[in-house]
Amino acid sequence: MEKIPEKINKKKTNNKKASRYFQPQEEVYNIDDKSLKKFKSGHWKKRQDGKTRKKNDERAVKRLRKVDKFLGDAPISKEKIKKYKRGSDMEATHARTYFHKTVFEQKEKKLELAAKQAARSELLLQETSGFIDAESDEETTYISQHDIVKAVDINSASKYFELTLTDFGPYKIHYTRNGRFLLMGGAKGHVAAIDWQTKKLLCEMNVMETVQDIKWLHQETMFAVAQKQWTYIYDNQGIELHCLKALDCVLNLEFLPYHFLLASSNSKGYLSWLDVSIGQKVAGHSTGMGRLDIMCQNPYNATICLGHSGGTVTMWSPNVKEPLIKMLCHGGGVRSVTVDKKGRYMCTSGIDRTMKIWDLRTYKMLQSYKIGMGASHLAFSQKNSLAVSKGNIVEIYKDCCQETVTSPFLTQRLPSSVFGLQFCPFEDVLGVGHSNGFSSLIIPGSGEPNFDAMESNPYQTKKQRRQAEVKMLLDKVPYEMIHLDTGKIGQVDQKTLEDKIEESNKILFLKPKKIEYEPSYKMKGRSKGLKKEQRKKGVIEEHKRRKLKKLWT
């Protein structure tokens, strides 16, 4: 009881002192909380003793005035930091020792710093996304390409063009990963590779055979063409490099750039993967699902999605003979499948004239749209715009995955029915291949504005390209790692360990399986009942031990 008032007294005197030092504060405006705290805590007390107190007071005040208004780093919003965070924070509560706890905490701090710095580096991004800013009563649906071309600069306007190639169509198209080069393959054998921005032709030829599909390989130096019988690889001058007889009667090609795999599906229901870096087929599955003419890759986990005539969509990895996922998506046959970049949404369309959006994390349907004639081709852009072709009309939907949209963002009528559809990476451009040639359409806001030059660089030089090729080959992910969850390798494999423990526990405590073993007869009294039983037991124990050992190595 006595001590408490003393304390209060002390505090009071402190306050008095503080208030005395505080007097000049009324005149000072540029003080932030930190310096005030310092001031209050008597940080400057030392300078204020003796006779020169007044002078020092003034100095202190001056110093306070100089204090920076914007102390420390600029604040970053939590949303931004969250974007760059990998996984949730780890709690150090389960650490074994204090030492481990501090190690965990330090690691956590470093991760947080990394996320923060990554978020802060957004400031350095040079470009912003494209858009159409319509007034409230205006609909963007009927804005034509001509309107867009009129509204934008001359450089962008040149990205809207048409190539009229009536003789060898319909055309399949494919852009390189950096969006610089375009490959076109006409069904009647016409193959052409162009730098579509400068309109410079790399090569043009006629393979004198039906062309089923075309795909660039890892870079613009090589491409694969699925022809009538075999699949061929050409370089960018049109010289035939390889004839892949392992891939025959191929209907669809997909290239998995991080695994260097060329996946192909053929007319006999055979799905195969070919490693282009070593030129060998690494896996092939007989799906038993008939003609495989609908195929796409999931860019997030490199699985292959196939659409079937029964309305199912299956997902395949080269490691498993059975489909990883088999889902019934439509009442009728599937006409087209596509998966977005992050591997979250899958869009399918069927002959039942519906288009459905699926969540690939839960495998549940999110949206179902009625499309007038049914969608024949689908494509997601980098910013998740969805291009849908019906006959000779292409419709673009924006944000149609999470919300139900009622009208398309843009529509465009083409001279003939659409055969190939792809958004150009890092550009606001949609490439459409059709029976009359090729059209390049401008779709504002569809492309990723800021590329990462270490990943794919549209402006790379020849040297950089070669360097990148080496780097890519060094980082080639083995095909054994293709699985639905790509992040698995970076996580703690708790389940396997638990399973192991459980299984070994079972062996230890469960009654051992009956092992057929009849001890052989031994002479000199070593085959008496007890001895025999002992030998038998020894064998069984040994068997058990071996099994345990096998489990743990």
Binding site: L125, S129, I148, D153, S156, P444, P449, D452, G490
Partner: protein, 444 residues
């Protein structure tokens, strides 16, 4: 209505002149970097493989001695100088940079048992089988004067010598532990405990008055130089050959034992070692700490040098060559980069402390690449494939077989103990921790 379309100005992305460096715009958005974990794993795997590819630790041998190398002594101020004493009484000064012998002197009759240097590096002491302690002067360029500055004739053979880390004192051991002042011919202080002789002595580098020594009655004895009696001792099952103090943690020391193991003790609690380091398949002859105190190197009678992390039971590295025989002595250089080993077949060998380290000046890009790779290796260290590759060492057949044999012996001992436990009264066969097994008792 406003429309904006992505349109990049190439000038923003291309370098201005040919002499300029390329522009590399970055975007750290995780969406643009798919397969992050698998790619990192592949990189880690490659880094681990490269580490094994570049693991060439042997740098060179210094030959010239005409008998087995018995002792090595690092120079406290010059990285390139090394002293070595051989079994025929010769002491040689080596230039490590040139890998050549600078001078040779016939220091003793019979073996040179120990060498130690004053912290200034101006002079050093040697003890030999001829019962003498000799002080030799050493110039900066590594020249020894032919005649010793002083010679002390003792009554018995001195088996080891070590210099105090700050004062002009040194300690020798033999029948007893003597503390000498450099200026006097008689020991300042002598310690005895029991009748047995001592064969290794070391000053603590931090608590400079503490001295540790190993005795032939299988004990490790600690002394305080200021006191009149030894502090305490601990008796192990087998003899310890040498002792080394951790230069960063004053209270930790490691002894190299005859029972193929090394034991790290906490000076304050000798009843149980902190860590038992086991990997050698023969007696451990010498041990020396790295200047960081994180690791130590040990020399084995099994013809290998091993490197142990100070807190780990098993070694991280094994160094051997076909020609290297029993390793008598090992030293870790003061720049933490090299390991020097002296062996029976008259050679001193220079090894890298990190087997795959690139020597010489690194370019900044190299440095960042190495740092990145080491972080990756650390991150994926526990993945089975990475673990397997980084752990794999080719060892001589002799060691391979010995290891196998020892594993079998250990297993059978364990099995026998378990069987005895199973068939006796509960509690009659107690569980003894591995660390306690080799300790007989602690005496104060």
């Amino acid at each position: 209505m406003k429309i904006k379309v992505l349109s990049r100005n190439p000038d923003d992305y291309l370098r201005e002149t040919k002499r300029d460096i390329h522009k590399v715009p970055r975007n750290y958005d995780p969406e643009l970097h798919p397969f992050e974990a698998p790619r990192e794993y592949v990189r880690a795997l490659n880094a681990t493989k490269l580490e094994r590819v570049f693991a060439k630790p042997f740098l060179g041998a210094l030959d010239g001695h005409r008998d087995g190398v018995r002792s090595l002594c690092k120079h406290p101020t010059a990285l390139s100088l090394l002293l070595s004493g051989a079994c025929d009484g010769e002491v040689k000064v080596w230039s490590l940079a040139k890998r050549s012998c600078l001078q040779t002197i016939q220091a003793h009759e019979g073996m040179v048992q120990g060498l130690c240097m004053h912290q200034s590096g101006r002079y050093f002491f040697s003890v030999g089988n001829d019962k003498t302690i000799k002080q030799w002067s050493l110039s900066d360029c590594g020249q020894i004067e032919e005649e010793p500055q002083s010679t002390i004739l003792g009554k018995t053979i001195f088996t080891s010598i070590d210099h105090h880390w700050s004062q002009n004192m040194f300690a020798t051991c033999g029948q007893q532990l003597d503390i000498w002042d450099e200026d006097r011919t008689e020991p300042v202080r002598s310690f005895t405990w029991g009748v047995d002789s001592l064969h290794a002595v070391k000053f603590n580098p931090i608590e400079t008055n503490i001295v540790g020594s190993c005795a032939s009655d299988r004990s490790i004895i600690l002394y305080d130089m200021r006191g009149s009696a030894p502090l305490r001792k601990v008796i192990l099952k087998l003899r310890s050959n040498t002792i080394a103090w951790n230069p960063m943690e004053a209270f930790i020391f490691t002894v190299a034992n005859e029972d193929y193991n090394l034991y790290s003790f906490d000076m304050r609690k000798l009843s149980m070692p902190v860590t038992v380091h086991m990997d050698h398949v023969s007696a451990v002859m010498d041990v020396d700490y790295s200047p960081t105190g994180r690791e130590f190197a040990s020399a084995g009678y099994d013809k290998v040098v091993r490197i142990f992390p100070a807190d780990r039971t098993h070694s991280r590295e094994i160094y051997h060559t076909k020609r290297m025989q029993r390793v008598e002595t090992v030293r870790w250089s003061l720049d933490n980069k090299y390991i020097l080993s002296g062996s029976d077949e008259m050679n001193i060998r220079i090894w890298k402390a990190q087997a795959s380290e690139k020597l010489g000046v690194l370019k900044p890009r190299e440095k960042t690449a190495f740092n990145y790779n080491s972080k990756l290796k650390e991150k994926f260290a526990f993945h089975p494939e990475v673990k397997r590759i980084s752990r794999h060492r080719h060892v001589p057949k002799m060691i391979y077989n010995q290891q196998k044999e020892m594993r079998i012996i250990r297993q059978s001992q364990k099995r026998k103990e378990a069987n005895r436990r199973k068939h006796s009264k509960p509690g009659a066969v107690p569980y003894v921790p591995e660390r306690k097994k080799s300790i007989i008792k602690e005496i104060e």
